[in-house]
């Protein structure tokens, strides 16, 4: 679960605008892709609504593990609806989260980029390793690990590039602190990988068509 848990004002205005613009460009590409190609399967819209609701629900719940963490289900979003609809789902979740006071508005752009990277990597790993790892549980779990690890790297990259206003820490000290956050976050990724693996395996049993899998 990668998400920048800093208050508004931590990044300078220019960096807030830069991350918002990059995120809006990404969303523009997703919207253009949807408009030009359309959704081949309208059922995907229903699934997108369901995963948005589920991800929003768990995203706000602070689990008392490792001092307090939360899941975000972004790899599951990638696996079930793909990167195009997934990007729009991520935007909706981040905006709604900021609206209820979880995360600053200024960081929505950066957090969208982090979560979209998780969606894309999980989707690519899940689809790309089908012939190597036929088992749905482990494939979804490994895709979740990869997606969340990538999201953490993007998070650290964004914070280091942007810099934090009003602090005296050196880049090395911030990097050390953020590396520890990656470590703790990846511990939570184990729970998220188990959960995603179980959900995907269940869907694979009852509705393999939703995963693009053939019935055994």
């Amino acid at each position: 679960m990668a998400h920048i848990h800093l208050e508004d004002g931590s990044f300078s205005l220019s960096w807030v605008l830069i991350w918002w613009i990059v995120a809006l460009l990404l969303i523009g590409v997703a919207l253009w892709s949807l408009r030009s190609k359309g959704t081949k399967n309208q059922k995907q819209i229903t699934i997108a609504a369901f995963v948005a609701a589920a991800a929003f629900a768990v995203f706000q719940i602070n689990i008392p593990l490792f001092g307090g963490v939360h899941l975000n289900l972004t790899p599951l979003i990638g696996i079930l609806v793909g990167p195009v609809l997934g990007t729009l789902v991520i935007l909706v979740i981040n905006i709604l989260s900021a609206a209820i006071g979880h995360g600053g508005w200024g960081l929505v752009g950066a957090n969208v980029l982090i979560n979209v990277s998780e969606v894309i990597v999980a989707y690519l790993i899940f689809r790309g390793t089908r012939s190597i790892i036929p088992d749905l549980f482990s494939r979804a779990g490994i895709a979740t690990f990869a997606g969340l690890f990538c999201g953490n790297l993007v998070m650290v990259g964004i914070i280091l590039v942007s810099g934090i206003q009003g602090v005296t820490q050196t880049t090395g000290q911030v990097l050390t602190g953020l590396t520890l956050i990656i470590g703790v976050n990846m511990g939570v990724a184990v729970i998220e990988a188990l959960l995603t693996g179980l959900i995907v395996r269940y869907i694979g049993k009852v509705r393999p068509d939703l995963l693009g899998e053939r019935k055994p």
Partner: protein
């Protein structure tokens, strides 16, 4: 399909999970039992701050942000899900 081909996925998953858990325990031991915001503030060198709305506690779990707004947004999302299901099915 050989036994190795059949089980390599789950073996790989377990190896990754063990490595990741070991790393997480080491990181947690170094940082100590900090909340999410405190951990970020400590990592980036930010001193305190107002933090986010602590929210309400439900069955030992805290809701991040405003709990009333959380319930309202969830209700809205459930309505959207029902509408999408009636319109497009699954």
């Amino acid at each position: 399909m050989t036994a190795w081909q059949e089980h390599r996925g789950i073996l790989l998953f377990c190896v990754i999970a063990i490595i990741v858990l070991a790393g997480a325990l080491v990181a947690f031991k170094i940082t100590g039992p900090l909340g999410i915001e405190e951990r970020f503030n400590a990592a980036t060198g930010i001193n305190g701050g107002e933090g986010e709305d602590a929210g309400a506690e439900i069955a030992g779990f805290f809701i991040e942000g405003n709990a009333l707004l959380y319930i309202l947004v969830m209700a809205g999302l459930i309505v959207v899900c029902i509408f999408a299901y009636r319109q497009f099915r699954i």
